[in-house]
Amino acid sequence: MELIFDKSDFDKAGLKLPSPDVPEAQPLDEVYLRLDNTGLPSVSEPEVVRHFTNLSRQNFSVDTHFYPLGSCTMKYNPRFTEKIASLESFASLHPLQPQLIKGGMLTQGAMQVIFSLEKLLSEITGMHSFTTQPMAGAHGELTGVMLIAAYHKSRGDKREYIIIPDSGHGTNPASAAIAGYKVKTIKSDSKGVMDMNEYRNAVDEHTAGVMLTCPNTLGIFNPHIKEITDFAHSHGALMYYDGANMNAIMGKARPGDLGFDIVHLNLHKTFSTPHGGGGPGAGPVGVKDFLSRFLPVSRIIMREDGSYALDYNRPDSIGYISPFYGNFGILLRAYAYILYMGKEGLIEASENAVLNANYLKYKLKDKFNIPFPEDTLHEFVISLKDYADSGVRANDFAKALIDVGFHPPTIYFPLNVKEAVMIEPTETESKETLDAFADAFTALADIADNRPEYFADCPTGSSVCRPDETAAVKNPNLRYKT
């Protein structure tokens, strides 16, 4: 599609500003002034609306397509939580308003939302307190690693390593590294979980912490989980739980009970806030009691009279992670979602997510190689390496799926499965959709067997097909230029 810039003409405008009601000010001295044009496209409102409406129509989305992107929990985003997030009494609230009158008396409602959400998330995960400041999962991880560091520092204990299994998400090692730690990667064993021998050998008094996803990115709930957390603790290391897969186990298991010290949740996964084309999400972090004093400021506390206050007086805190209280609009949606679902609703969400994944696995298991098929929960990973050997790669299957109206699953992740296809259907998809997907995917396997050349032009039905990514890197064209 044409760029919005292509429609620009100098005296068009899409927005009328209020007519001036005050005198024009004395202009600034020229040294402070911009002398050129801003370069923004000058277009009318009808053009803006048609442009972005038609742009949107080039996307696959949960609203329009099955979107079984593994590890991402692309489930239905309720409409009423969108409405709630746009209520003016919250959406128009300035983040500095609580600071105008001591202790946040001007924003009791918003503070109660955060306070209550922290309590609910604590119960869901078995942790003792939560901070809502982190603005995404990775941001939560960074916060968590900073908490690990603060803890060891408070004990005068300088540690060097964070341990992460090879199936861990890329953000895990990246977060550990930017917080100042070295990373030790542990291989997976033949069952798809972290190799216990290698793990036991790796943990020592230099280990600051262990970051785990459980169920892991293969969908497998590690049966040794308690041994793992105990072993880390026995060496003074802390256990970090990457909660991206919490959608599998709500009400069934809680990281807190399993021995984890720090947890992040992805509200944009488990708690149905929209993914927004890449964000914003929210990645609140929960901790056990002994770590509470390190949590970021500000904290929202309840006074004896039941009112809420902002607490900045926390000398051991790791400081400011967000400018304020995190992605509040996302927190509000998640809070509404949890109230709506309730205890039973959340349990059923996990049950249906796991049932859907296991049903789809059943539908695909005869035709496809599922390297770690046992005891998977909300997702499972297929290996297409046999097809790849004959020239049809996971990426080819992905492109061909687009033509038949399915968003491809995650591919080439986790890294410990060759030609991985990671499928997470979620609980908000119907059996009919799963059947249709299984049939389509199986049909592609047949084509791969018989007509591997079929895939080269896929997808044929999209506005583009296999953009040249190498050229994109070699000759970067990253912005419109006149």
């Binding site: 941001h139 927004g276 992670i321 059996k431």
Partner: protein
């Protein structure tokens, strides 16, 4: 449950097929042995949409609403055109995820490309990324980037940089081997003399803000030149609306520009979600954190947009990535893009002019009040500081009773400024409201 599309009959069939004929989904969880089971799950019962909405509206009414805002501090009460809300509410936008599959995501990808273009346009910089969490983390990422680029580890922060952002940067870097110096500023422009004392050949970057936290407008060209002489980079945090009027960071030869994009069509929403943006010189492109979208050709030579330069990122490079960011603030970037498209070139200039005109009008009215001292040591854009004859907190409380959020009490971050207020004025404030503000302040102070 209303969000589950499988009725009991479908569920039975599914369970049966996977070999659980007794219909108990519990068996699927057998890997979670009894001793690993949740020890508690004490949550309230579910409620209907109507009940939850009702309850949350009640909470909303516990906030003090409908204040007339003269507070800013980096976060501004601008008007959001209805088309912005309407377009970002399209399911194809808000229920998609990171555009990993370009053929299924050209909508999101082209929007990112256009967003990057707009950010480059308003800042004058060469390249921009797809978004970072907020203005504060963007500034922190820029600092880290400067350390990587220069392989130095000393950072000089101007006191005019938002105290919130300075605190954030300090938090993030506590465990890293980075030295900081902060150079105080008091309601005026950057203190060159003091700044220069801290710049040396170990300096990775100077961090500046324009307009600064006190609203002061500056031309940082001289500081940039000085920094560059020492091989240091300059990072500048900007208020995008001001770029409709102010000299661009590119014109000052700044190396990395970051900012908070909330003012571009994103609701205040009690602190988020907001929009961090970052732009830099071409030469630093490969050191930039965050997703980047590029234009390329597909196999049929059609223009296509893709995520590019991905070897910088965590999903490829893991612990060697330029940043750990994965989910970003895409939908907020889309908001900003739509807002900027509606505004256009002239619109951004007019908007900036209106903000400043109204701010100057407010300055003038307030300066007429006995005992109120409008700081005028430097020019300002749409935010300025005043000194009161009494403690600012007292005044604020009384102004709130009159429905006015009169400004931010600077004593909150600057202990020696207990009687100062930081006042912001946007295009939404009418002449009438400004006059009412001044009258109320006079009343509070003198009657």
């Amino acid at each position: 449950m209303s969000y589950f599309p499988n009725g009991s009959s479908s569920r039975s069939v599914m369970l049966e097929k996977i070999g659980i004929p007794d219909g108990s989904v519990e068996q699927l969880f057998k890997a979670i042995r009894p001793e690993l089971r949740a020890q508690s799950f004490n949550l309230p019962e579910g409620k209907s949409e109507f009940e939850v909405e009702h309850y949350i509206r009640e909470l909303g009414s516990k906030n003090v609403n409908n204040l007339t805002y003269f507070i800013g501090g980096g976060f501004y009460d601008h008007y959001i055109p209805a088309a912005v809300d309407s377009l970002v509410s399209r399911g194809e936008f808000f229920t998609a995820y990171t555009p990993y599959q370009p053929e299924a995501s050209q909508g999101t990808l082209q929007a990112i490309y256009e967003f990057q273009s707009c950010i480059c346009s308003i800042t004058g910089m060469d390249v921009a990324n797809a978004s970072l969490y907020d203005g504060g983390t963007a500034l922190y990422e820029a600092a880290m980037m400067s350390v990587r680029i220069t392989k130095r580890n000393k950072i000089v922060m101007d006191g005019g940089v938002s105290p919130i952002y300075r605190k954030m940067i300090r938090s993030y870097t506590t465990n890293l081997d980075i030295g900081f110096s902060e150079v105080p500023v008091c309601h005026g422009q950057s203190d060159r003399e003091e700044l220069y004392k801290h710049i040396d050949d170990d300096t990775a970057a100077i961090i500046l803000q324009n307009p600064n936290f006190f609203g002061a407008v500056d031309n940082h060209s001289d500081i940039v030149q000085k920094a560059h002489e020492h091989g240091a980079l300059v990072i500048s945090s900007v208020y995008p609306v001001s770029l409709g009027m102010l000299k661009t960071p590119a014109d000052m030869d700044v190396d990395i520009v970051t900012g908070e994009g909330q003012s571009l069509g994103i609701p205040l929403s009690f602190g988020g979600p907001y929009l961090g943006f970052m732009a830099c010189k071409q030469e630093y492109l490969r050191m930039m954190p965050g997703r980047i979208c590029g234009s390329t050709l597909d196999i049929k030579n059609r223009t296509a947009y893709v995520l590019t330069m991905q070897t910088r990122e965590q999903h490829i490079r893991r612990e060697k990535a330029t940043s750990n960011i994965c989910s970003n603030q895409a939908l907020c970037a889309l908001r900003a893009l739509i807002y900027m498209s509606l505004l256009g070139d002239k619109g951004l200039k007019q908007l900036a002019a209106q903000c400043r005109n109204k701010s100057e009008f407010a300055k003038q009215r307030l300066s007429e009040i006995k005992g109120v001292n409008v700081m005028d040591s430097s020019p300002t854009f749409n935010e300025f500081t005043i000194q009161l004859p009494v403690n600012a907190n007292e005044v604020i409380g009384k102004m709130i009773e009159r429905g006015i959020a009169a400004g931010f009490p600077l004593g909150r971050y600057y202990p020696h400024m207990e009687d100062y207020l930081l006042i912001a004025v946007t295009e939404k404030r009418t002449k009438h409201e400004i006059i009412r503000f001044a009258d109320a302040l006079e009343d509070v102070l003198w009657s």
